[in-house]
Symmetry: C2
DNA sequence: GGTCTTCTTGCTGCAGTGCAACATAAAAGC
DNA sequence: GCTTTTATGTTGCACTGCAGCAAGAAGACC
């Protein structure tokens, strides 16, 4: 697992979010997928922070823009974004975060969830993934999509 | 991760379940905790298989015994059982499984979820856990309770 | 342009999840 | 017995997530 998984609270988030949007546009264009206004709005809402948002929180934040969307609308947008690897679901919280790492779809990702500030860091877990796959295969199990979520305290919160 | 994580479909489940109940009784007695009828019923419902059950499925299965319990009743029993390490929650499914490994509370556990038969295998993940902790600490993160759930195909289902 | 197909969104409704707040009953401690 | 703690029952509600159908928008093709 590499260095700067965890976004510093004072990082240039403006740029960070714009880069993610740009990446999403490019990604969708390349696949002939449509990044419609609703989908973009949902992604933007998630990109407003690195904390996971519940579906109904997203609805809340979109309520201003173009009228309050129905839950199903947001869920469909989320489904699209997840299918395209632009958004991840944090299972242990029933919530979603924007992906800012443009990793390839199949990579195992580890989510580090700070219990204080709520920020979610995301990083590849190469060695861990391999160990995990190897040992689960040893148990006769064919792993498909490992899910790893760790709750703890991030470096920035610990310094206080 | 060790050998027989995954319960064979033809294992002596009767004995398996009884052992778990006996362990639960001993465990509660040792801690002066009360394994009340409701709690026991919930545990028994979960022990009826190695597949996770949703809270409302549990309600369904308890409906006969002593009248249909209210959701909150089941949730409270589940909370008790989880606090005592007798039941685990499968986050990715919003469901619960009985623990049959009487491991100590803090051990990292890996859940192997078979997408065909639904059985959940559970095993300690010593090496993986250490790798995970080490590398997340390297990212400045103080991990508390890693959660690992892997969907795949179990050895018994693959043989078909 | 017109038509057809496909994709997206809107709408209604509903089942499952999870718990707060308060009232009551049961067990444990003295 | 009485008090305190602990467990259960009841009501109610907010959140999660999606099915099924209808309407609209975008692309493809002639």
């Amino acid at each position: 697992m590499p260095r700067a998984i965890f976004p510093a609270p004072d990082h240039d988030h403006e740029r960070c979010a714009h880069a993610a949007i740009a990446h999403a546009e490019a990604h969708c264009a390349a696949r002939a997928q449509r990044l419609t206004p609703i989908r973009r709005h949902v992604l933007e809402a998630l990109l407003a922070s690195h904390s996971p948002l519940g579906a109904y929180e997203i609805i809340e934040r979109l309520a201003d823009k173009s009228g309050r969307p129905a839950p199903i609308t947001v869920y469909r947008a989320l489904e699209f974004l997840r299918d395209n690897g632009l958004v991840h679901r944090i299972e242990s919280r029933n919530a979603f975060v924007a992906c800012v790492h443009n990793h390839s779809g199949d990579d195992l990702v580890v989510f580090l969830i700070c219990e204080r500030c709520g920020t979610v860091g995301e990083g590849p877990a190469g060695a861990v993934a391999e160990a995990l796959k190897a040992s689960s295969r040893a148990a006769g199990f064919s792993p498909k999509s490992p899910l790893i979520e760790i709750v703890g305290v991030c470096s920035h919160c610990r310094q206080r």
